[in-house]
C-alpha cells in the first residue's frame, strides 16, 4: 500500500506514451478541424497567388491598355478577330492614311497603306501604339513610297478576369492589391502585437497601482471612436503607406494589451509561478519559462483573428478613398472601384470581393480552429 499504484485515476490506469506536450495535442486537434485545415490551404494558395502572381503575369499591374477598357472576363484571347480590321482602320485614320488591304493569318497580319504623298515609314508607330498589334515593319515599298505593305504580329492577350475602367488587367491588380492588403494586415498586426504585448505584460506583471493606471488609460482610449482619428491622421498627414499601418496598429493594440494583461495576471496567480518563485527563480526566468510560453497560445489565436480585422479596416479606409494611392492598389480600393461600377461592370466588384472574402474566411476559420485546439474546454 505504499507504492504509487494506489492512484485509481483513469490517467494512471492506461499509461500514455512519453511526451505528448500540450502543443502536440493542440496540433492534432487542429488538424482534425476541417474548416481550419481548409482555411490554411486557401490562405496559402491566395498568398502564393498574390506574391508570385505578378512575376508570372504577362501584364504589369499599372499597364493601361487603351484598347481594352472595361473588358469583361473571358477565356478567349484579345483582340477578337472581328475587331482587328476596325482597330487598324482607326489607327490609320489617325495617321491620315488609307487602308487598301488588311489580312490576318494566324498570329501575323499584313496591311497595305496608301496615300497621295510618299508615306513616312515612321508612321508604323501609329500601329505599334495600339495594344492589338506588335512589331510592325515595312516589308514592301511601292508606288514611290505612296503604298506601303506593313507586316507584323497580332498581340494576343488574355484577361482572365477582365480589365478595369482604365484598361488595366484586373487579375494582376488583384494580386498586387492582395500583396498590399496582406502586408498591411501583417505589419499592422505586428505593430499592435509589439505595443500590446509589451504594454499588457508590463501592466499585468507590475500589478497594483501601475496596472490600475495603465488600464484606466486603455479604458479611456477604448471609448474613443478611434477610427475617426485614423481618418484624421490619414487625411491630414497624407496617404502614406507606412502611416496607414502604423495608425491601424496603434488603434488595434488596445485589445491585445487587455488580453495579454488579463492572461499575465491570471498566470501570475497560478501556483506554478509561485512555485518557481519559491525555488528562487528570478523575474527573467519566470517570464521566460512560465509566463511567455503560456501567453503564446492566446496571443497566437488573437493574432490570427486580428489580421482579418485589420485587412477590413484598411479596406474601409481605401473605400473612403483614404487608402493607398494609385497606381498602387489594395483589395479595398478595388472593391470601392467595383462598387462605383456595379451596374455596368459587376465583375469589377465580384472578383476582388471573392479573394477578399475568401481570405477573411480562411483567417477566421484558422483563428477559430486554433482557439478550439488550444482551449478544448468547449468541446
Amino acid at each position: 500500500m505504499t507504492d504509487g499504484t494506489l492512484a485509481t485515476d483513469a490517467a494512471a490506469a492506461k499509461p500514455a506514451p512519453a511526451g505528448h506536450s500540450l502543443l502536440a495535442l493542440a496540433m492534432r486537434r487542429l488538424l482534425r478541424n476541417r474548416a481550419a485545415v481548409a482555411g490554411s490551404i486557401v490562405l496559402a494558395l491566395i498568398t502564393l497567388f498574390c506574391v508570385a502572381g505578378p512575376w508570372l503575369s504577362p501584364h504589369p499591374y499599372d499597364r493601361v491598355y487603351r484598347s481594352y477598357v472595361a473588358m469583361p472576363p473571358s477565356l478567349e484571347l484579345y483582340p477578337k478577330e472581328s475587331a482587328l480590321a476596325g482597330a487598324m482602320g482607326e489607327a490609320l485614320e489617325r495617321a491620315r492614311l488609307a487602308m487598301a488591304d488588311f489580312s490576318v493569318d494566324g498570329d501575323s497580319f499584313r496591311v497595305t497603306l496608301r496615300s497621295d504623298r510618299p508615306i513616312d515609314p515612321r508612321n508604323t508607330r501609329y500601329i505599334e501604339r495600339l495594344d492589338e498589334f506588335a512589331d510592325p515593319r515595312v516589308v514592301e515599298t511601292l508606288d514611290e513610297g505612296r503604298t506601303l505593305v506593313v507586316a507584323g504580329r497580332v498581340n494576343r492577350q488574355l484577361f482572365l478576369m477582365g480589365t478595369d475602367r482604365s484598361g488595366r488587367d484586373l487579375m494582376t491588380r488583384i494580386m498586387v492589391g492582395g500583396r498590399i492588403s496582406l502586408l498591411v494586415g501583417l505589419l499592422a498586426t505586428f505593430v499592435s502585437l509589439v505595443i500590446g504585448v509589451a504594454y499588457g505584460a508590463i501592466a499585468g506583471f507590475a500589478g497594483g497601482r501601475v496596472d490600475n493606471l495603465m488600464m484606466r488609460f486603455v479604458d479611456v482610449l477604448y471609448s474613443l471612436p478611434f477610427v475617426f482619428f485614423v481618418i484624421l491622421l490619414v487625411v491630414y498627414f497624407g496617404r502614406d503607406f507606412v502611416l496607414i499601418f502604423v495608425a491601424i496598429g496603434a488603434v488595434e493594440w488596445l485589445d491585445m494589451a487587455r488580453i495579454v494583461r488579463g492572461q499575465t495576471l491570471a498566470l501570475k496567480r497560478r501556483e506554478f509561478v509561485q512555485a518557481a518563485e519559491a525555488l528562487g527563480v528570478g523575474t527573467g526566468g519566470i517570464l521566460r519559462r512560465h509566463i511567455v510560453p503560456n501567453l503564446l497560445g492566446p496571443v497566437v489565436v488573437f493574432v490570427t483573428l486580428m489580421v482579418p480585422k485589420i485587412i477590413l479596416l484598411e479596406s474601409f479606409l481605401s473605400f473612403l478613398g483614404l487608402g493607398v494611392q494609385a497606381p498602387l492598389t489594395s483589395w479595398g480600393v478595388l472593391i470601392s472601384e467595383g462598387a462605383a461600377n456595379i451596374q455596368s461592370a459587376p465583375y469589377l466588384i465580384i472578383f476582388p470581393s471573392i479573394f477578399f472574402v475568401a481570405t477573411l474566411f480562411a483567417l477566421n476559420f484558422i483563428g477559430d480552429g486554433l482557439r478550439d485546439a488550444l482551449d478544448p474546454r468547449d468541446r
Binding site: P225, F229, L320, N364
Partner: protein, 306 residues
Amino acid sequence: MLTYTLRRLLSAAPTLFVIVTVAFFLVRFAPGGPFDLEQPLAPQVLDNLRRAYSLDQPLHVQYLDYLGKLVRGDFGPSYVAIDFTVGEMLRRALPYSVTLGLSALALAIFGGVAAGVFAALRQNSAADYSVMTVATVGVTVPNFVVAPVLQLVFGLMLGLLPIGGWGDGGLAHRLMPTVALALPQMAVIARLTRSSMIEALRADHIRTLRASGLPGHVIIRHALKGALLPVISYLGPAAAALVTGSVVIEKIFAIPGIGAYFVEGALNRDYTLVMGTVVTLAGFVVVFNLLVDLAYAALDPRVRYD
C-alpha cells in the same frame, strides 16, 4: 448602485475631455488649413480671414476659447460652408444619423440575440450550423460590399427599393441602409449570444433548475439573463462600430448624415466641422457606454459592490 452610477458618470467626463483635446490638437497640428485653396488668397485677405476666425490667436487661447464655447453648446462657425454654424449643420444632419443608427442598433441586438439563442438551443444541429454560417459571412463580409450588392439586387434588378437618398424617411428608403449597417454587428452579437448561451445552459445553477423540475421556458429565461451579460458589455464596441460604419453607409446610400459631414469636413480641412462631428459622435459613444455600464450593473447584482 448610486455610488456606482456616480463613479461611472465621473469617469465619462474626463473621457470626453480627452477626446475634445486630442481632436483639437490633431486637427491644428496637421499641415494645411481651411483657406489653402487652389488659387492662393491674397495675404491681406488671408489675414482678415484668420482674424475673423481667431486663427491668429495663440493655440492655447484658441483651445480655451473653443472649450468655453463648447460647454455652452456652441460649436462655432463652419470655415468652409460660409454663413452656416456647425451647430446648424449638425442639427440638420443629426436626425438622419440618429434614426439610421438607432434602428440599426435595435435590429442588430434583436436579430443577433434571437439568432444566437435559436442556434444555442439547437447546438450542433443543421439549423445551428446554417445560422452560424450566415453569421460568419456577416462578420467577414464588410458592409461596403454588402451595401452595393443589396443596391444591385433589390434596387436595380428587382426594383423593389430605392437605391439611395432619404426621401420622406419612410421604411422603403431606410430599409437597405439599416440592414447593411446592422448586419456585421448582428452577426457578431449572434455568435456571442450563441456561445454565452451554450455556456450558460451548462452552468451549475441551470442544473439546479433542471433538478427542480422546472419547465424548459423557465430554464431558458434564467440562462438567457446570464447569457445576455457578455452581449451587453459588447454593446459599447458595437455602438462605436455602428458609428464608424455609418460613415460608409451614408456615403453609399447618399444620406446627408453626420458621417457624410465628417468626411467632407476632413477633406476640406474645415476645423470646426470636423471637431463638431467628432465631438458629437464621440459624445454619443461615451454616453452610450455609460448607459451600457449602468444596464449591466442593474442586471448583475455582483457588479454594484465592486
